[in-house]
Structure formats: C-alpha cells, structure tokens
C-alpha cells in the first residue's frame, strides 16, 4: 500500500500539468558507420510520428515511430527502408517567453531492408539522448527543434566463416510540431 501511495505521489508530481500530445517531425539523419577500420556515412531524411504524455515543463514520456529510406550501399548494393520504434523520457523547463528547453534519453529498436544473400533485413537496437527547445505557439500547438544523438547496434552479419558486428552513430537535427490535448 505504501509503495502504491509513493508511486501515485511520484506520478502526480512528475505529471502535475500532464497532457497528451501527438506530433510530427522531420529529421536530417546522418549516420556514420565504422566497419573494419573503414567508414561510410549515410544521410537521409527521417520522418517521425510521435505520441507522448507529460508536462512540457516537467517530465514526459514519448513513443515514436520513424521511417527512413536509406537508399545507400552500406550493407548491400540496395539498402532500403527502415522502420524504428523509440521510447524517450524528457525533462523540460519553463524559462519564460513560451520557451521550454528540454533534455531526453531513450532506447529504440528497428529493422532495415537489405538485399544480401543471407539477409533480407537487419534489425538493430539503439540508445539515444539529446536536447531541444519547444516554443509554445498557443495552448494547443508547440514548435519543436532539437538535436539527437543515437548509438545504434546492428544485428550480427554472417559471412559463413566470419561475422561482422556493426555499430553506427547518428546525429539528427530535427524540427517538428506537436498537438496537445
């Protein structure tokens, strides 16, 4: 019972001004791959649909679903579409002038189509953190701009007599808009 009360108190304190929101953002996703001492970068727009709950001046939790088309040749001659799901925890502050800077940290997972002999798709997991600034346009909308870093660990790729482990680093500047209700 005590634990339940404590959790309830924590919940109320974290989300005292909590509201739900949905939003859209577009990111310029630049990803740096390092494999066997060689590097290659891939840059493509990433589109994100997100839904969250929380206080813009406090804590909020957000789930986002992203899409991007790599159209690169890191894993195969024809790397394809990728779908990603991320969960991020944000902490925001009210600094006046309708501006709300924030920091966020989260985890995610996803899958990308590839055209390899042994794999048609590759899965990955990720850890991300970043920060940004929200500008409250009115009671319903806010404008969102930020920068996110993501460390992505890819599925081990089999080469029969060898294996390759791939990690990549993403830096994503983004802009978006959120609708609160």
């Amino acid at each position: 019972m005590r634990v339940l009360l404590l959790l309830s108190f924590l919940y109320l304190s974290l989300f005292a001004e909590a509201m739900s929101y949905i939003g859209l953002s577009i990111e310029d996703s630049t990803e740096f791959f390092v494999i066997n001492g060689e590097t290659q970068d891939a840059s493509a727009p990433q589109y994100k649909l997100k839904a969250g709950y929380g206080d813009i001046a406090g804590y909020s939790v957000e789930a986002s679903f992203s899409y991007m088309d790599y159209a690169t040749n890191v894993f195969s001659e024809n790397d394809g579409k990728a779908l990603m799901l991320d969960i991020t925890l944000y902490k925001g502050w009210d600094v006046g002038y309708d501006l709300y800077p924030y920091l966020g940290v989260g985890i995610g997972m996803g899958e990308m189509d590839v055209d390899r002999k042994l794999e048609n798709s590759l899965s990955f997991s990720s850890f991300n953190f970043g920060g940004g600034l929200r500008y409250v346009i009115n009671h319903t909308y806010d404008f969102d701009v930020g920068l996110n870093y993501k460390l992505r660990t890819w599925q081990t790729i089999s080469l029969v007599a060898d294996k390759i482990n791939v990690t990549s680093h993403l830096v994503n500047p983004y802009v978006g808009i959120n609708f609160h209700f």
Binding site: I26, V74, L118, L159, I164
Partner: protein
C-alpha cells in the same frame, strides 16, 4: 505573430528536406559472400575401400578431409568446414560430415557439395568428385610362419591346425588400380563360421579351441563384399 510562426515552421522543414539524401558509388562497406568453393589440399580423387586407415601408408586412405573457401566481394576469403552443411549424392558409397569423407562401399563414385542455410551452394560444376578404389583380392598368410596355407584355383585357402595358437593372420590386399598393400588385416572385417571353435580379432589374431575335430570357415570382407575364404581343418589332440 501567428504568420511569423508559420513562416518559421515551414522554412525550417524545407531547409532540412533540402539537405538530405546523399548517395555513394562505393561498394558496400559490409562485404557480400560471392561463392563457396570446395578445396582439397590433398588433391584426393579416390578413396580405398577399407575401414579405418589411420596410420596407413601415405596415399592409402579410406577418408579425406575437405574444406571450403568462402570468397567475399572485397577480395578476402576464409576457410571453413564445420560451418557448412555437407552432402554426398550417394551417402551409402561415401558419407561426408563436417568435410570428412569416408568410404562405405567397395564400388562407386559420388559428388560432394557444401551449402549454408540452404541458401548458398557450391556450383554444380564445382562439386568434389570422389571414386572408390575397390578391393578385388585378399591373400591371407600367418605373420610368424606358424601356418602353411594352401590356395586352390578358386583362391580359397586351406590350412591344417592342431595347436590353439594364437596365430597372427596377415591380409595382403590387391586393389583394382593394381596397388597391393602388404597388411590390411586391421582394415577389413574378419568373420568365423563357428566362433565357439575359432575366433579372429579385428586385427587378425586367430585363436582356436581344440576340443574336437572341426572345420571352420574364416572369411574376410569389406563393406559386406567377401574377399577371400580360409578353411581351417582343426584336429583335436
């Protein structure tokens, strides 16, 4: 103020979209598997129709070990045997496991192939072809000169025995490729028609019970094909 907001939002989104989508003509950073090729460092084309030949003379073997080279798109290659699924198109003649090919018949030839996850295969024209060299004749003698074996025109040996032994039988094999091996007694199968009277170990050691007069037939065979017959005429003391 509202108009300013809209302009700011639109221009930001447009700027991001313009700066996207790079392309690169370099080959994929992660190499792709090009082919699987079977390699045989011993250049073996045939296996002798014998059982376990470990310790036999060079070039006389009923087994051979194959490897496979995986060739990658970046020019590198790697060698393996255990990672692959090996297949013989007639596993009753020559079986293969983890690249180790073993003769299981006195005649025949097979094609050996390797594959990975039922997705990557060796090319059909790059199969490893192996042929059995049949054992066509076996001549039995006694290593220590304790027995005098006589052969008739049908190559059936006969010998008189009045001592319990043991006798060290030696089997000299003659193969279809005109190779003769002086002692293959441990590489063939010995059988006795009456094991209560005469027994032969897997290495050819003959022991005889002299309880009564008896005739016992000793046969050598390889993979169920009889090579030769030795008739023991046992005389009790």
């Amino acid at each position: 103020m509202k108009t300013l907001h809209n302009i700011l939002l639109s221009s930001s989104l447009f700027a991001v979209m313009l700066g996207c989508q790079s392309s690169d003509n370099k080959p994929p950073l992660v190499p792709e598997i090009e082919t699987i090729q079977i390699i045989d460092y011993n250049a073996t084309t045939s296996l002798y129709a014998l059982t376990d030949t470990s310790g036999s003379a060079d070039g006389v073997s009923s087994t051979t070990s194959l490897l496979a080279t995986i060739i990658y798109s970046d020019g590198r290659s790697a060698t393996t045997a255990n990672e692959l699924d090996w297949e013989s198109n007639n596993s009753k003649v020559i079986a293969v496991s983890n690249g180790l090919c073993t003769a299981l018949a006195n005649h025949g030839s097979v094609d050996i192939n390797a594959s990975y996850r039922k997705t990557l295969y060796t090319k059909s024209d790059e199969s490893k072809k192996l042929t059995i060299i049949p054992l066509v004749d076996v001549n039995i003698s006694e290593k220590n000169g304790m027995l005098s074996i006589n052969y008739d025109s049908n190559s059936t040996g006969r010998v008189d025995i009045n001592d319990s032994g043991p006798y060290e039988l030696s089997a000299n094999g003659h193969f279809e490729n005109n190779v003769s091996l002086t002692d293959i007694s441990s590489n063939i199968i010995w059988t006795s028609s009456n094991t209560t009277v005469a027994t032969v170990s897997s290495s050819g050691t003959l022991n005889v019970a002299l309880d009564k007069n008896a005739t016992v037939i000793i046969k050598t065979s390889i993979f169920n094909e009889v090579n030769t017959t030795l008739e023991l005429n046992i005389t009790a003391p």
